[in-house]
Symmetry: C2
Amino acid sequence: MTQPWLSNIAAERGVLDRSSTAARVADLLREQIITGLLVPGTRLPEEELGKVAKVSRNTLREAFRLLVQERLLVHEFNRGVFVRTLTAGDVADIYRARRMLECEGLRSAATASPAALARLDAAVTMGEEAAAADLWPRVGTADLRFHQAVTGLAGSPRLDEMVYRLLAELRLAFHTMSSPRDFHAPYLKRNRTIVEMVRGGDSGAAERELLDYLDTAETQLIRAYEAQTPDA
Amino acid sequence: MTQPWLSNIAAERGVLDRSSTAARVADLLREQIITGLLVPGTRLPEEELGKVAKVSRNTLREAFRLLVQERLLVHEFNRGVFVRTLTAGDVADIYRARRMLECEGLRSAATASPAALARLDAAVTMGEEAAAADLWPRVGTADLRFHQAVTGLAGSPRLDEMVYRLLAELRLAFHTMSSPRDFHAPYLKRNRTIVEMVRGGDSGAAERELLDYLDTAETQLIRAYEAQTPDA
DNA sequence: GGGTAAGGATTGTTCAACAATCCAGCAATC
DNA sequence: GATTGCTGGATTGTTGAACAATCCTTACCC
């Protein structure tokens, strides 16, 4: 391990062989969920799903467990697994946690690694280019990646994982928004603003901007959410 | 649902019927891990373990998944599951996340529910009584419960879960401490101090105290940790 | 109408088997 | 002598079928 590039190999090694069938089935299901084709509340019967996915019930159950861990599915004992349905309270709780995590990231922006800053910039650029090309779902992913990069400024693997899970969870609520374009468009500019504030060293201003940003996004989302699910 | 105690029953209902064999096997393994009998790095062979636990390989694998999610085990594809070994970097990262979460709890102490405050008090009292009775492992659990209660002041289920997982993870490192008594004893008083500051409404002082508290605990733990695992 | 019992459908769990992969040990080569 | 290549045994990954336990619906009875 004296050569520097050997440690690079060692670090990236994990992604090479990781390919269990259960993980691949989980990928398929995740895709269906985050694109909104699998509606929250839907029950996923083991036998039927196993047949169409051409995997045994056991491995399918293992895939379920992976997605339950990501909070995309819920597992009720002796009743089966369902696509998670978020309550308005869940959305509020997620935004509360996001505020804490992302602000923590901005506060440690001064000591952030160049790679982390580059990821921040790349995410914003990706969003702008996707908007120019009219690829609005891609704008959505870029936005999520931006917020992950904000938290990533802290350089903490655990904080990264936390925000990753929160954002994955949020996708369950995004589909209640009528148009992804109207939802994501206003935030493109604000993301760029935040990046420039961070680059300029004014993390206090960036934090204020981000908090206001999250507030409006939260109320917008919750309003659309409660309109769709009367009461609850 | 007009009776108040009915909602209590409804809230606690989930734990009644939740009794899959996999969960119970996971409980057994967790016990062995947090008491330190199962040393980090140990490999858990499926066939052998399934025989002694008298469960099939499939359900054992399900138990493994549960503990992998709790970060007590790690799962390497085609190689098996191992008891997680924390690096000094892991410990530092855990404390970083704890600082963020627990301070967030203290900051919302003013708006915390009476039940959350009661839990805080109960945890400290439990620790003091356990110390008086010379039950030091119990002091340890009381301490963990205290920190969970601190975060619980925020009243956020997700923050609660995050800190729960972090503290569970941390137990993997506790066994490197030679004596649980020497490690936990000094913190009994500081816990009480923090509770009184919170009760008095001075959450700023409580936060400063807690941060100092966590700093010393972290350095103490990491020092003992690096002494035991030379290099790494 | 409301409670109840039977029935079917689905999940929980086990078992046995085979394929895929890893790993330690040994042979071959330079 | 160290590295490479191979081989056999052990362990994990995955499958399919079977049975028990549980839930849900339907029909029945009072």
